[in-house]
């Protein structure tokens, strides 16, 4: 018996010792790290004084501040421009990205925390549908080589084509991406939504993949989500295109603002397969879209100061939304009803709502939540819905349920 115990103890100890030895490889660094950093702000300021007379071509390896990007709505990021074409993107979460112009070198005395991206930026991983839509809108889709949504999940034709042709590769879910494919692709930079889990973030860091979290979803103003296009414009040297696209969307809202408010009230909801009703908090971007469209979000006192969705008890929703003039049902999250009868099957409370009786129930289109670059146009659609005659039953992003 003692002998057996001794054998067991020695075997397991050997295994433990081997594991400890294997762990030594944790420190092995086989991927060429591109991590250098950015020179400090103080250094940049002192450099600025010296470089007034320096020629453009002499800014190689120096950070001399030039100007900052003008942002009208976005609060969660900023872009600083430096002489010689260097750009620094700062996210509200303190992520810093230094974009190095082609054929220019990384400035000395750099901060280890800063992500260095050598332009042209390509072969990146994007795990966010709105981000993909913004990059696609400025014509930089070719820079994305990996994504975490398969071809059937997409409603954006260009992305579907890229996945079908093999220009873009699906690497599994954002919760458990295929790390082998990421490593084999040589990708060293990825953009994720805030749904990135900590274990995935840690493993990507371990594999030398730097991450930017797209926080456009946390922006308070709907048009700020569109303005994130400017960040990607800076990343891919497509600022002019981004500026033009953003201005197009802003102009939709500006035009509506010139008109008189319709005074119509709008409720927004969906019901899950488990029968739970979700609506939007008062300060959510969809509620604000209704207000910007010349309407009034009917549950304006529910979830004040909060964004996102709210699981609401049926009676409370009915009480607050029964007199709403319009009901927008979120199709992609709520069982995808094709007709009004499909939606009414989900709950008896809908039948007694004013919007249903008046035939003013509209449904979002499948691509509604995948696209961030046309939020101005979506707001315009809500305005058209509020002002449309009874014969109108289909807009770009809204469809009437009949």
């Amino acid at each position: 018996m003692k002998k057996r115990i001794l054998v067991t103890v020695s075997t397991l100890s050997t295994v433990l010792a081997l594991l400890t030895a294997c762990g030594g490889n944790d420190s092995i660094n086989v991927t060429p790290e591109s991590s250098a950093g950015v020179a400090s702000v103080a250094e940049a300021e002192s450099n600025e004084e010296k470089t007034d007379t320096v020629q453009e071509e002499n800014y190689d390896g120096m950070l001399v501040f030039d100007h900052s990007m003008e942002l009208e709505y976005a609060k969660c990021f900023s872009v600083d421009y430096y002489k010689g074409g260097y750009k620094e993107i700062k996210s509200e979460d303190e992520t810093k990205i230094l974009l190095i112009p082609e054929n220019m070198s990384v400035p000395a005395q750099v901060d280890d925390e800063t992500i260095i991206l050598q332009q042209p930026v390509n072969n990146i991983l994007v795990s966010s549908t709105p981000t993909t839509s913004l990059i696609n809108a400025i014509g930089a889709l070719d820079a994305i080589s990996l994504n975490t949504y398969d071809v059937d999940s997409w409603y954006i034709d260009e992305v579907k084509d890229a996945l079908t042709s093999g220009k873009m590769t699906y690497i599994g879910s954002y919760k458990e991406p295929d790390y082998e494919m990421i490593t084999a692709s040589g990708t060293t930079f990825g953009v994720f939504s805030t749904m990135l889990t900590e274990d995935v973030a840690e493993q990507l860091k371990n594999l030398g993949v730097k991450i930017l979290l797209d926080r456009s979803g946390e922006e308070a103003h709907p048009l700020a989500r569109v303005e994130w296009m400017k960040l990607y414009g800076a990343m891919f040297n497509l600022e002019d295109v981004a500026e033009q696209k953003v201005n197009e969307q802003i102009s939709f809202v500006n035009e509506i603002a010139k008109k008189e408010n319709t005074g119509k009230t709008v409720a927004i909801c969906y019901i899950t397969s488990k029968g739970l009703l979700y609506t939007r908090n008062a300060d959510d971007y969809m509620a604000k879209m209704v207000d910007l469209a010349g309407g009034q979000y009917v549950l304006s006192e529910v979830g004040v100061g909060e964004t996102g969705t709210l699981n609401m008890e049926m009676e409370a929703f009915y009480d607050g939304a029964k007199d709403a003039d319009y009901l927008i049902y979120i199709w992609s999250l709520g069982g995808k009803p094709e007709t009004l009868a499909d939606m009414l099957e989900k709950s008896d409370i809908f039948a007694d709502m004013k919007a249903v009786k008046d035939g003013n129930v509209w449904c979002t289109t499948p691509d509604y939540f995948q696209i961030s670059n046309t939020i101005g146009s979506m707001i315009n659609d809500i305005n058209l819905m509020l002002t449309a005659d009874e014969n109108t039953d289909s807009l770009t992003y809204l469809k009437k349920l009949k």
Partner: protein, 351 residues
């Protein structure tokens, strides 16, 4: 008589040989197989000659496949051994680590920590992302809290069925508290919790492997040291007492050891169903005996091999989409248990 003993010894030797061979095969299959094809020679060079000429292949083997495979082996063994100890303690074939509230306790504490830390720290720094180490510590602490409550009752209640029911009730209480908190949390704040509760070996790092090994291996060694009293206890408390086992102390030791093992699994990989219940049955049926001196090492080996093969299936069958480990352990393990039980009935003269 001698022939029967010899046959038994032969069977045991064959079982240990098969389990070891399975483990070795699973090791090579896991190292060789993946969504990126690396030649056998390439794998050999990277693994044994430290060939770094192909950096991507080197990283895939050393930073992705090897730590993941080892954590599946370590935690699979721990989970199976924990299940065996609990089945012995409760004298109930369906007692398993997660029936008694271990995973529910872990999830509850993890939910409290996630929501509290997000609320307290995210206010001034939106980048707040809970470190993996905090998840592991919270899950481990939660598992131990559940087990401490079961232990408190174990000191007062002698009836094992009652104790088992209390364990299940604790599990439900923890789940209710968790659901209550989730109701008021934002989706993005609890995304880690949701992901963790699916159970997975994905994303294992060497730090995780080392930490898991430092918990599991000493605990498994301690379990091996009490194999004799475990065998005696399996034959009844009275028999164990007559053999000089201090039953009160032994009961506590059994629960603590099994809890530490399953808490480690929950902490590093999330809740993984089925293995803790089924693997001890599979091992017992293969060995044809319940002798703890054999069951403890055999269950550990069987659990390791089983989890390594299940994880290989989870990550490769629908690659790049990965299945949750629980989906595979149930789908592969349950038919094996049914088949083994039917085979035994036939052999014993049943239908």
């Amino acid at each position: 008589m001698k022939t029967i003993e010899t046959k038994k010894m032969m069977r045991i030797a064959v079982v240990f040989f098969v389990l070891t061979a399975t483990l070795v095969s699973a090791f090579f299959l896991n190292i060789y197989t993946g969504s990126i094809k690396i030649s056998l020679r390439g794998v050999y060079n990277i693994l044994f000659l430290q060939d770094e000429s192909n950096a991507a292949a080197y990283n895939i083997i050393w930073k992705i496949r090897l730590p993941r495979m080892l954590i599946a082996a370590i935690l699979g063994g721990a989970l199976a051994l924990s299940g065996y100890l609990l089945q012995t303690f409760f004298r109930n074939p369906i007692a398993g680590p997660f029936v008694l509230g271990i995973s529910s306790g872990a999830k509850m504490v993890l939910a409290v920590v996630t929501i509290a830390m997000t609320g307290l720290l995210a206010g001034n720094k939106k980048s707040f992302h809970m470190p993996v180490s905090v998840t592991i510590v919270a899950a481990f602490a939660g598992s131990m809290v559940s087990m401490l409550v079961v232990l408190l009752f174990a000191g007062k209640i002698r009836n094992m069925s009652t104790l088992l029911v209390i364990g299940i009730m604790i599990s439900h209480i923890c789940s209710s508290v968790t659901d209550f908190m989730i109701n008021f949390a934002k989706e993005a704040d609890i995304v880690n919790l949701t992901h963790w509760s699916l159970g997975s070996f994905s994303g294992a790092t060497w730090v995780n492997v080392k930490a898991a090994a430092w918990i599991v291996i000493p605990t498994a060694l301690l379990t091996g040291l009490i194999a004799k009293p475990v065998s005696a206890y399996a034959l009844g408390e009275g028999y164990a007492q007559s053999m000089g086992v201090r039953v009160g102390f032994f009961r506590v030791a059994l629960i603590v050891l099994s809890s530490v093992l399953s808490a480690a699994v929950t902490a590093f990989a999330g809740p993984i169903s089925f293995v803790g219940i089924a693997v001890p049955h599979i091992t017992r049926m293969m060995l044809g005996t319940d002798k703890a001196q054999l069951m403890i090492p055999a269950t550990f080996l069987c659990g390791s091999g089983f989890c390594m093969l299940c994880d290989l299936t989870a990550r490769t069958v629908f690659a790049p989409t990965e299945l949750s480990i629980g989906t595979v352990t149930g789908a592969i393990g349950a038919p094996i248990v049914i088949w083994l039980m039917l085979s035994r009935r036939k052999r014993d003269g049943g239908e």
